[in-house]
C-alpha cells in the first residue's frame, strides 16, 4: 500500500510518500503507526504523539481503530489548519 505524509509529519519522516508492506498482524491504522514508528528514528519522531496524528484511507478521514485491509493509500498528517 502507498503511504503519504503531510506537513510536519512529512518533514519528520523525511519522505512525502512510500510503498510499504506491513506484516499481516498490522490490521488497523493504530497498528500501522506502531509498526512505522519501529522503522527508525525519523518515524519514531514523527509519530511520538500518536493521539495528535490524523489519518485518511483512500481520501477519507478515519479513526485509529479503522481496518487497513484493502486500502490503496493511507495518509498521515497533523490536525488541519486550512480555511
Amino acid at each position: 500500500m502507498r503511504v503519504k505524509y503531510f506537513a510536519w509529519v512529512r518533514e519528520r519522516v523525511g519522505l512525502a510518500e512510500e510503498t510499504v508492506e506491513p506484516p499481516a498482524d498490522v490490521r488497523t491504522v493504530s497498528d500501522l503507526i506502531g509498526w512505522l514508528s519501529s522503522r527508525g528514528e525519523t518515524y519514531a519522531h514523527a509519530f511520538e504523539k500518536p493521539k495528535v496524528i490524523r489519518a485518511a484511507i483512500d481520501h477519507a478521514h478515519v479513526r485509529p481503530d479503522a481496518a487497513i485491509s484493502g486500502a490503496r493509500e493511507i495518509a498521515f498528517f497533523p490536525p488541519m489548519t486550512g480555511g
Binding site: A7, A75, P78, P79, G82, G83
Partner: protein, 155 residues
C-alpha cells in the same frame, strides 16, 4: 433542479465579484448571496509574518470539500454554491479561501456558508506554515475551531 457545487483547489488568486456574477448571471430566482473570503493576516499571535504557505493533499482536498458541499446542498435550499481554496505561498492581504452560497432567502445562505467554513477549517486537508523573522513554523490547530465545527453535528 439539482444544484452542482463548483469546487476549485488552485494556486492562482480568485475574484469574489466574478464568482458571484457567475452564480447569479441571467437568473431572477436567487434572492440572497452570501460570500465568505478568508484573507491572509499580516500577523499571527501578535508577531508580524511575511507570508503563509499552504500545503494540501491533492485528491483528498477535492473529495473532502465535495462531501461537505453535498451535505450543505442536502441541508439547505441552495441554488448555487462555489468553494475555492488556494494553496502555495500567500502574502498578507491576499485571498486564501472563498465560499459563495446562493438561495431564495438569506438565512439558508448565511447558515450554509458558516457550516462550510467551520468544516473547511477542521476537516479539509490543508496545513498552513508561517514565515516570519524567526524562520518558518507550522500553525497549530485551534480547539475553538473544533468546537465551531461540532455545533453543526446533527443530534
Amino acid at each position: 433542479m439539482s444544484v452542482t457545487a463548483t469546487i476549485r483547489i488552485q494556486e492562482a488568486d480568485f475574484d469574489a465579484a466574478q464568482e458571484i456574477a457567475a452564480l447569479t448571471k441571467g437568473r431572477t430566482d436567487i434572492g440572497a448571496v452570501v460570500t465568505f473570503s478568508g484573507i491572509c493576516r499580516g500577523s499571527e499571535n501578535g508577531e508580524p509574518i511575511a507570508a503563509l504557505t499552504l500545503e494540501h493533499y491533492p485528491g483528498m482536498a477535492e473529495a473532502e470539500i465535495g462531501r461537505h458541499a453535498d451535505e450543505a446542498l442536502s441541508r439547505w435550499p441552495l441554488q448555487g454554491l462555489t468553494i475555492i481554496h488556494r494553496f502555495g505561498r500567500i502574502a498578507p492581504g491576499e485571498n486564501i479561501v472563498l465560499v459563495v452560497t446562493a438561495s431564495p432567502h438569506r438565512q439558508a445562505a448565511f447558515e450554509a456558508a458558516e457550516f462550510l467554513m467551520d468544516y473547511l477549517k477542521t476537516n479539509a486537508p490543508f496545513w498552513k506554515r508561517e514565515e516570519s523573522k524567526k524562520g518558518t513554523s507550522w500553525i497549530e490547530a485551534r480547539d475553538h475551531d473544533d468546537a465551531a465545527a461540532a455545533r453543526w453535528t446533527k443530534s
